[in-house]
Amino acid sequence: MTAVTAEEATQGAADGAAADAARAEAFDAAVAADDRIEPRDWMPDAYRASLVRQMAQHAHSEIIGMQPEANWISRAPSLRRKAILMAKVQDEAGHGLYLYSAAETLGTSREELLDKLHAGRQRYSSIFNYPTLTWADVGAIGWLVDGAAITNQVPLCRCSYGPYARAMVRICKEESFHQRQGYELLLALSRGTPAQHEMAQDAVNRWWWPSLMMFGPPDDASAHSAQSMAWKIKRHSNDELRRRFVDICVPQAEALGLTLPDPDIRWNEELGQHDYGAIDWTEFQEVLKGNGPCNEERLAQRRRAHEEGAWVRDAAAAYADRHAERPGTSGAAAEPVEATA
């Protein structure tokens, strides 16, 4: 650097600026042509930051989302349902793993993201701040929450960032299993004894509105939507997706023999879609701010699991360090260090 003259420096900066402009142009062209952006491609800093923010929030939602359903594993009322529920909660852990790995391709480690989650500096989906009070809530989560997640996420399979899009293809397949299993659970309850039917209806009453809120604030109040759509990280507006979800749920609720708790739902002939009632955005904002029924508990359990697991992760790291230096001493030495997250 010391040998660079002022003239050379100016020239270098100009070259740099020209190169930046060329790279930005190539990026814009790739996005416009629906090509995938890959980890080694140049990308604007704001695009990278926006993706990390979204993938982190998504990954955190998967692992916090395990809690309300894990709450019922020990009480599942049949062995078949217990197996389905355990497999579902396991899938969500797997989704967390894929998404943290996808975020790692942008240079952000899982550890860093978990630290931010635990410090309350990154969000997860507010839906998981509601409690699972009865067994039917497991069905309502599958049907409505996984259902809303699919509606949100299927377009992400075509997201401009390659690793995220590919992770979403795998995840969406499993989410649609979850949605069908939840629907089937509710159907069994709805057609069961009067007490079971009532349990199912009560769960739908409590989960319906929070599920609609999963699509985020209305379009005219959404902070990140416009830029994300321009970058093809997002493909449809919050309100578009929300309406699509209502259209999917109305006939399914009918088939279930359950009522959606919104007297204003009706078919709009002109739009060819359903209208629905006003959403209580005050509740949404309150839960977002931390004043939901379970915000404290969810984060506290996550922190506790992490803190109580610290000695396990330390041990695995110490073992791996030591045994990498003496290869062949045991079978375990050769495997990747899986536990240093």
């Binding site: 395990m66 078949r80 909660v89 069961g192 041990a315 073992y319």
Partner: protein, 233 residues
């Protein structure tokens, strides 16, 4: 006593205990691994229980004194090392047992042939963690040793004869001891030296005598099912 019930209850109860880890595991990979093992065991339990009756009636409507699992599998999870100690003791036993059953021509040969691969993975998972924790940090070493020590007195029951199960308990005990000793030594840990069963409890779980935490586990597991008599789910 039906051997299917003994093996089925072992798998059912251990699966339930492992399921209690969901959302609490020390690292995301272990959420997946522990759930995997729990699901394998639940699958085995369902096959075994279905072979002698209605799986849900057997799981949700029997009283504590009618369960035939060994006391080892009903022990509460404790910390991760405690759970891994339980996994080591049980999965080495189950692996050796299923290998023998798979090699035979008895009632359980088919099931064991299918399950032995799963159980081999459970054993491998436990052994690797015993090595990591035993030979990890001073804290993990101490916790792993404590886990092995605390559960040692429940291991004798594994080798008591089970009616209807054609297995040589003595040779099973011998193979188990050398396998466990080898892992424990490689992990720089000590094999516990106390008795492998209490004066009262030898063979107790198989006879329907359980430990106090088991009643609370069943209360939680059976509550919903019992609250809706005759309902289907």
């Amino acid at each position: 006593m039906s051997a299917a019930l003994a093996l089925g209850d072992d798998a059912l109860v251990l699966s339930h205990r492992l399921g209690e880890w969901a959302g609490h595991a020390p690292v995301l990979e272990e959420e997946v691994a522990l759930a995997n093992i729990a699901l394998d065991l639940l699958g085995q339990a369902r096959m075994l229980l279905s072979s002698v009756g209605d799986e849900d009636e057997l799981a949700f409507l029997r009283e504590e004194r009618s369960f035939r699992n060994v006391q080892l599998v009903e022990q509460p999870n404790g910390d991760f090392a405690h759970t891994i100690a339980r996994q080591l003791y049980f999965s080495v036993y189950q692996h050796l047992l299923y290998e023998q059953l798979a090699a035979g021509t008895g009632e359980f040969a088919d099931l064991a042939t299918k399950a032995v691969k799963e159980v081999a993975y459970h054993r491998d998972h436990a052994e690797r963690w015993v090595l990591r924790l035993g030979d990890g940090t001073a804290e993990s070493h101490e916790r792993m040793q404590n886990g092995l020590d605390a559960l040692w007195r429940f291991t004798g029951e594994l080798f008591r004869p089970v009616e209807g199960l054609d297995v040589d308990g003595e040779s099973l005990h011998g193979s188990w001891s050398s396998a466990v000793t080898s892992v424990v030594e490689r992990a720089t840990l000590r094999l516990p030296s106390g008795p492998q069963s209490s004066a009262w409890s030898a063979g107790a779980g198989r006879q329907g005598l359980h430990t106090e935490p088991f009643g609370r586990m069943l209360a939680e597991m059976q509550h919903l099912h019992r609250s809706h008599p005759g309902a289907s789910w």
